[in-house]
Amino acid sequence: MNKKLLMRGSQVIGEAAIRAGCRFYAGYPITPQNELPEFMSGAMASLEGGTFIQAESEIAAINMVIGASMAGARAMTSSSSPGISLKQEGISFLAALELPAVIVNVMRGGPGLGNIAPSQGDYFQATRGGGHGDYRTIVLAPAHGQELADLTEKAFEYADRYRTPVMILADGMMGQMMEPVILPDPVNLDTLPPKPWVLDGAQGRPSRIIRSLILDTVGMEEHNWKLERKYKMISDEIPRAETYMTEDARLVVIAYGTAARIARGGIKRAREMGLKVGLLRPVTLWPFPERAIREMSRLVKDFMVFEMNTGQMIDDVKLSLEGRSNVHFYGRPGGVVSTPDELAKAISSLYYRQNLKKEG
């Protein structure tokens, strides 16, 4: 096993990406994720076949990723909220062209330029596509340093397997914080599954075309259904959620990313007060772990969604439950990071209001 290292989150993503076979990175600076391109600039330079480009803009960077992916590279770009907005057109193109790519969003407070503090305001944008057209993006939500490494590796695997863009949804705190991490072993690029669709020169074989302009409506409809069949397959295969102290819970908090780790602290404190509270943490935000939540509703009648925004994932929780349980909300937008004590107070206030202390 590799040695445990104390590493900054943004550097963990970079190192894990390279170990996962990423050989092309293009990006444009924005706080709080500058340490990621900074790391990539050095790492790619010392790597055979590695390319780092500081692009002239976010839009240029995502389009360079399209090109690199078309040519067969494991490619990545990263930014923070306002910069991710600029990349949306490119992400739509990646989805349409069925190209694998990894996009990292180290979220900050918004809307607009907002601030540079950790936030979860981009949930809708990430999970609803963000760009135009009828497509989905796989969205992975790490909650701590080790998961930044593990899910970055996963992101490249999913992107290639399904030929689709994958977003890693982190936040400013994860990007800046250092935590102990055990890095995965580097993959051997030669052992990765072949990509029989790449554009690498048609000498000696029929030419291939990768395009998103399909003027014929019948052809476009078929392309949309083809994408939809793929999204259905992804929805069946990869939804993932983690639970914490849910066995006897009468109230279950649903939170992801940094909010989930704060929630764990709040739940631990609530347990010390004798409240039966647990956590369900979606690890994949799209596909959303609907089934895990729906199954839990057989025993749990009250859910509390906690987000670092004014309420976005709560919609997916309600859709998953289809009215089966009560859904409550606690949120802090604008870059505020709640304390575990604050969460414990919110949990206990809801617990008593819903009369969950009463046995039966």
Binding site: K4, L6, T31, P32, I116, A117, G172, M173, Q176, M177, M178, E179, P180, R261, I262, R264, G265, G266, K268, V337, T339, P340, D341
Partner: protein, 182 residues
Amino acid sequence: MKKTVFAGFGGQGVLMMGYVFAVAAMRDGKEVTYLPAYGAEMRGGTANCTVVVSDEEIFSPVASSPDFAVIMSKPSLLKYEGIMREGGVVLLNSNHVSRPLTREDLNSIRIPAVELAKELGSERVVNMIMLGAFAAYTKMTSLDSIMNGLSEIVKDINPSVMKLNRKGLDRGAEYILKGDLQ
């Protein structure tokens, strides 16, 4: 679980103190998080980081009511005194921070780190003196662990510089253990 804030001017080696301490505690087998302040910082402004050390999972890396503060400059004291946990301990670089604490529920340990560093022949070890004092006072890690952490972080360092760092740590620890302080 113990939260410590390291704070001072940019350039005083404040982030390095926290980083070295965090690596040392991790190698001691503890759970750790290190969170540097980031933002619209300015030259000559405050630099700070929060290190959480725990035997159990750490939920929040944020410095809400820290147990300890290692304070290297006056503005840093103003910034952190108010949020310290009741009964918390503030280790002050007394050559830069002369004023007394306003809160009566906190303990303050004053270390003339610049003076001590001059005695050792280099003001560059002020942060190591503070870190040595911090380790000796809190017993959260050992000086050996800190040295190991330092060698892990700064590769290819001149051996004489390492020796000087060790001297700084020892002097800081000695200042606490020999009870030089009031």
